[in-house]
């Protein structure tokens, strides 16, 4: 095994940047913060590419199978020889792939923000937060220990909270960041319990060992965890489902998705980073990381499948009705992540059956590029129009040609038109679904058509529709804003051709895939129809969309109100939890708990007053107490304590 120790610097550089900018940024680096952050991240990115090259092409493969390599390991807390918490860096195909995705997208966002956030009062703080987030995310993907995953998981949560709430003078941003934090925190509770269950029965927190122990049918741990049950469900299923709940929270799966649309209150480049490519796929990554264990439990996997599929469909329907462009993108993200989830759900460990796993990771990979491109494009649009609402846009293709082309490419990619990146990965997902579950395949197909429809609805409303009404003081944006768009657009075309199945598969071996033209006919033609429909409705201004909306009536209304999930939560919390549980608890808290505390405080105060008497300031009385103490101890330990 050769040396990968330099990988440590990939997460450390952003951490250093965060510390430097966080401590001294506002004073010394007010202007240069962006350059510092970008340079440091550029270094990390280059290192990631070097690592990927070394792993995939030089020494990752042993006997045709990619190995799991522990690049470094460090015992962080050792209570005793048996109980210790390790920190380590794991290198395997998915972690290397995620390294590339996270550093690359983050770099693009850093560059884009140079122009987008220019002139912000807290420019340095913004870059400090970005660095913190990148550090946490990199730490998360490299973790070799599930407890370490949890630590970084929470760090990601905190840093995304800081970023979403960046405009803290806007009440809606504050509310959104709180909502995101609280919802994901709830999910994390599940995650933590899941970790504890798996750790308790598996006897270790190390991911490699855990997988080893929980996948061999003879091991003591396996027998223990499958025979122990709670409410008639085995502990293995409990553990995995709870872990998945954590993942679903971060990945915005139904019913924990409600924070994602609101989180769009953050700066748009932040959404491109957090809500397109990195944090929201953490849940997918988590399931993939523990996939060998998941694949041992059909029940947990089917929960993953159905949650994913339902979220994909639901989000796509809602996305068709939204008018805030970032919200459309948010729902589309949720929908695409649903794809990745159910692709994992239909996969099995090893060989041909692992197609879903490969497809899911592939889609994660391609999605990162075109979705961050979409967000950055939206950012450029918002930068120009100063509004998030598509009603304020239209005809922008003449004003911002670069953004227009990039956005179009991204839309084609996400819709799955060949030869754009999304086509390839989506095909694999559909194929995997087709082979294992026809119903899921149907849902996926329908969602794919919906995706094409709402994306082109967005595209036409922004760039076509009507003539631009604005008079502009500034043009499309600086070069630092255009460059990432161009690079990402090239990626959105190119990354589909990466022979992904030779790199990332469920068992590390190469998976033979073949694109079947006949199979592709159905999805592609459906997609094209959907695009044409969108063009017909939205390319020019007309009243067809309203007519359509009226025709769908209640359904449209429900969808545009996001199927009242938020209202449902509000109802549950405000009408049921608050009056029936909260208020009685508050009463108990106020009268009984506080009463006890007050009593305690009073007693404490009394005692303290009493003791104060001892503290008289007279040395002779101190001597007396001193002697009294000795006498008491002597009596106790010579006569009483035998």
């Amino acid at each position: 095994m050769s040396n990968y120790s330099y990988i440590v610097f990939i997460p450390l550089l952003p951490l250093v940047t965060f510390i430097v900018l966080g401590l001294f940024g506002r004073k010394y680096f007010k202007i240069s913060a962006g350059a510092i952050g970008t340079t440091s991240l550029l270094t990390s990115t280059v290192l990631s590419f070097i690592a990927a090259r070394q792993y995939f092409f030089v020494d990752g493969k042993v006997n045709g199978i990619y190995q799991k390599i522990i690049a470094c390991k460090y015992t962080w807390l050792e209570f005793s020889p048996n109980v210790s918490i390790d920190m380590g860096i794991i290198i395997d195909p998915i972690s290397v792939m995620m390294l590339i995705v996270v550093t690359f997208v983050s770099l693009m966002v850093h560059v884009f923000s140079l122009g987008y956030m220019k002139g912000e009062e807290r420019f340095a703080t913004y870059y400090a937060f970005l660095s913190l987030f990148t550090f946490s995310m990199l730490g998360l993907v490299l973790s070799s220990n599930i407890f370490q995953v949890y630590i970084f998981w929470e760090l990601v949560g905190v840093s995304s909270y800081l970023l979403i709430g960046y405009y803290f003078d806007k009440p809606s941003a504050v509310a959104a960041s709180k909502k995101a934090f609280i919802v994901t925190r709830f999910a994390d509770l599940g995650f933590l319990i899941g970790i504890l269950i798996l750790g308790f029965y598996g006897g270790t927190l190390d991911i490699g060992l855990l997988i080893q122990k929980l996948t061999s049918l003879q091991s003591l741990q396996w027998i223990n965890i499958t025979t122990a049950s709670f409410l008639g469900v085995s502990m293995l299923t409990w553990g995995l489902v709870l872990v998945f709940i954590g993942g679903a929270g971060k990945s915005a799966m139904f019913p924990l998705h409600i924070w994602l649309p609101d989180a769009m209150e953050g700066p748009t480049p932040v959404s491109a980073l957090i809500h397109a490519a990195t944090m929201v796929v953490a849940g997918v990554y988590l399931v993939a990381r523990l996939f060998p264990v998941f694949s041992m439990d059909a029940a947990a996997l089917s929960i993953v499948t159905y949650t994913g599929a339902f979220s994909a469909l639901l989000a796509a329907v809602i996305a068709c009705t939204q008018t805030d462009i970032k919200r459309v993108l948010a729902y589309s993200t949720m929908s695409q992540i649903g794809y990745m989830m159910f692709a994992l759900g239909v996969a099995k460990q090893g060989g041909e059956n692992g197609l879903g796993y490969m497809a899911s990771m592939f889609h994660l990979f391609t999605h990162a590029f075109f979705k961050s491109l979409l967000f950055l494009g939206a950012g450029a649009v918002i930068h120009l129009v100063h509004s998030n609402d598509m009603k304020d846009m239209g005809g922008l293709r003449k004003l911002m040609p670069v953004t227009h082309i990039a956005f179009l490419i991204a839309c084609l990619a996400i819709a799955g038109i060949p030869p754009f990146a999304g086509f390839f990965s989506k095909e694999e997902i559909l194929l995997a679904a087709y082979h294992s579950n026809k119903m899921i395949y149907g849902v996926a197909l329908f969602t794919a058509a919906l995706t094409a429809f709402y994306m082109f609805r967005l595209y036409f409303s922004i760039f076509w529709s009507k003539e631009p009404t604005l008079h502009h003081s500034h043009g499309e944006g600086t070069i630092s804003m255009k460059l990432p768009l161009i690079i990402l657009a090239i990626c959105a075309v190119g990354v589909g051709f990466v022979p992904f199945s030779t790199f990332v598969t469920a068992d590390g071996a190469v998976l033979e895939t073949h694109t079947d033209i006949l199979f592709s006919i159905a999805p592609v033609s459906l997609t094209i129809i959907a695009i044409l429909l969108a063009a017909n409705l939205y390319k020019t201004q007309n009243n067809k969309p309203e007519r359509l909306a009226t025709a769908f009536g209640g359904f449209y209304k429900a969808a545009s109100r996001k199927f009242f999930v938020d209202e449902f939560y509000l109802f549950i919390t405000q009408k049921i939890i608050f009056p029936l549980i909260g208020q009685p608890i508050a009463w108990i808290d106020k009268n009984i708990v506080d009463g006890c505390i007050n009593l305690l405080a009073n007693i404490t105060g009394k005692i303290a007053g009493l003791i104060k008497g001892f503290q008289s300031g007279k040395v002779q009385s101190y001597a007396l107490y001193f002697f009294g103490g000795i006498a008491a101890l002597a009596v106790i330990f010579i006569y009483l304590w035998k």
């Binding site: 303290a608 040395v619 101190y622 002597a634």
Partner: protein, 470 residues
């Protein structure tokens, strides 16, 4: 005995002695400015600290009167570090003081006494070291020459420690009378459970308890800490206690091992009393110095819990916690002494809105208080955690539970201060302070120590590897 052995084993003591003599010579020579003297002293202390890390060997001298090993060298290094930090911090106070050199001679003599005490292999030697480490401090407590309170503190310290020494000596004589020896290594096989020996043992314990101010032998602390100059208070509450605790652990674990069952219960009793009463006092304090003093009483209670663990982890966690305690407590004392030296303000309520005028100091103080309270990820959390872990090793969970609950109470009063610093409004916050370079350096070292000691596990591992098994 070869002469080189003598020099190597005694090198830390010899260095201190050399510095003391050097200072005397400087004092006899021509007048120099305080600044240059302070620079010189701080440099010497730094060299002294650095020298401590070289060639640590094991061995004994003077027919087992004096012994040393790697752990003892490490403990002395911790004390050297503490005195260096204190010296850096008292720069602003001493700059204008007339008797700088005398002050240092007193502190260093006390330190020398502590070194001999830590290395003692004989109860008599131990007693000598203990006295030598106390009497100069009584003089040092008087160093705010213009303040009556300072003299009062000195008098109270000397009288009460004389009282405690008397009882300690009584204990030592009883030990000698019943066993016929004072050598620690021989004593271990001789101590039994007959009442006279138990009584002698309790007298010894009370002598220790007095020095580390465990309840009910703590009453002198409040008055002395409040009256003495802050540097001396810091010295008393950090260095003195640390030195005595080091000896305490090693004597209990080796010499009085046969009485383990007895002192196990006794320690729990003292520990719980100390934690609870220390907390109760700290709750009501408004004077920052007194507050730190009382909260340090409670901290000692936690250390006693760790000692009761009687295992290798017991020693390790105690030494580790003391290292952290040095950093955290001195950071807090450092800020308080700066504020008090410039503005004369010592009340907690004076620190309201401290953050608005002195953000750097506010953060240092906050980190120190977090560490003292035991909030993760500061080192204090790990320190207390290890102490409680060590204490719970014998399976008595209820005292541990009470101690943990008291940690929550201590959160209240530590965080109350943090709240005052950051959140409470104040019309007249402490003015913006200009922090001289040396105290600033000391504060940075403390903060770095608080963070590094906690997160870098090698520190604990190293201490653990040096600790003797039980």
């Amino acid at each position: 005995m070869i002469l080189t052995d003598f020099f190597i084993l005694l090198r830390q003591e010899l260095l201190i002695t050399a510095i003391i003599f050097g200072l005397l010579i400087v004092k006899l020579g021509k007048d120099r400015s305080n600044e240059s003297i302070l620079m010189l002293i701080n440099l010497l202390l730094l060299l002294n600290l650095a020298a401590g890390f070289f060639c640590s060997t094991e061995g004994a001298l003077f027919s087992d009167m004096f012994r040393t090993n790697k752990l003892i060298v490490l403990e002395k290094n911790i004390l050297n570090l503490a005195i260096w930090i204190i010296s850096l911090q008292s720069y602003s106070w001493l700059k204008t003081h007339k008797h700088v050199i005398e002050f240092y001679i007193l502190l260093l003599s006390a330190l020398l006494g502590m070194f001999f005490m830590i290395s003692s292999g004989n109860l008599l030697m131990f007693y000598l070291g203990l006295e030598m480490s106390t009497i100069p401090l009584a003089a040092a407590a008087n160093f705010d020459l213009s303040k009556r309170q300072s003299s009062e503190a000195a008098m109270k310290l000397i009288i009460s420690s004389a009282f405690s020494s008397g009882l300690l000596l009584l204990g030592i004589s009883l030990v000698y009378g019943t066993t016929g020896t004072l050598t620690l290594s021989e004593l271990s096989s001789q101590m039994g459970h007959n009442p006279l020996q138990v009584f002698a043992f309790i007298l010894l314990i009370s002598g220790f308890a007095f020095k580390i101010s465990a309840v009910p032998f703590h009453l002198w602390t409040a008055d002395v800490y409040e009256g003495a100059p802050i540097a001396v208070t810091a010295f008393l509450s950090v260095v003195s206690k640390a030195a005595v605790l080091f000896v305490f652990v090693s004597i209990l674990y080796t010499t009085f091992k046969s009485l383990a069952e007895l002192w196990y219960n006794l320690l729990f009793l003292l520990a719980l009393l100390t934690i609870i009463i220390g907390n109760l006092f700290a709750l009501r304090q408004d004077n920052f110095k007194r507050f730190l003093a009382f909260s340090s009483i409670a901290q000692v209670g936690f250390i006693l819990i760790g000692i009761s663990g009687s295992s290798q982890a017991g020693t390790a966690s105690v030494v580790y916690f003391i290292l952290i305690y040095v950093f955290s407590n001195l950071a807090a004392f450092g800020v308080v002494s700066l504020v008090s030296a410039v503005t004369g303000k010592e009340k907690i309520s004076d620190y309201k809105s401290f953050y608005t005028t002195n953000p750097m100091l506010a953060w240092v103080l906050t980190i120190a208080l977090f560490s003292l309270a035991g909030v993760p990820p500061t080192a204090g959390f790990f320190g207390k955690f290890f102490l409680l872990m060590a204490g719970s090793a014998n399976g008595s969970y209820w005292p541990i539970t009470i101690a943990a609950l008291n940690m929550v109470i201590s959160f209240y009063y530590y965080l109350r201060v943090v709240k005052a610093i950051f959140m409470d409004a104040n019309d007249k916050p402490v003015q913006k302070l200009v922090v001289p370079a040396l105290p600033k350096l000391a504060l940075y070292i403390c903060v770095a120590g608080i963070i590094v000691t906690g997160l870098w596990s090698s520190v604990y591992d190293y201490i653990y590897s040096l600790s003797p098994g039980f």
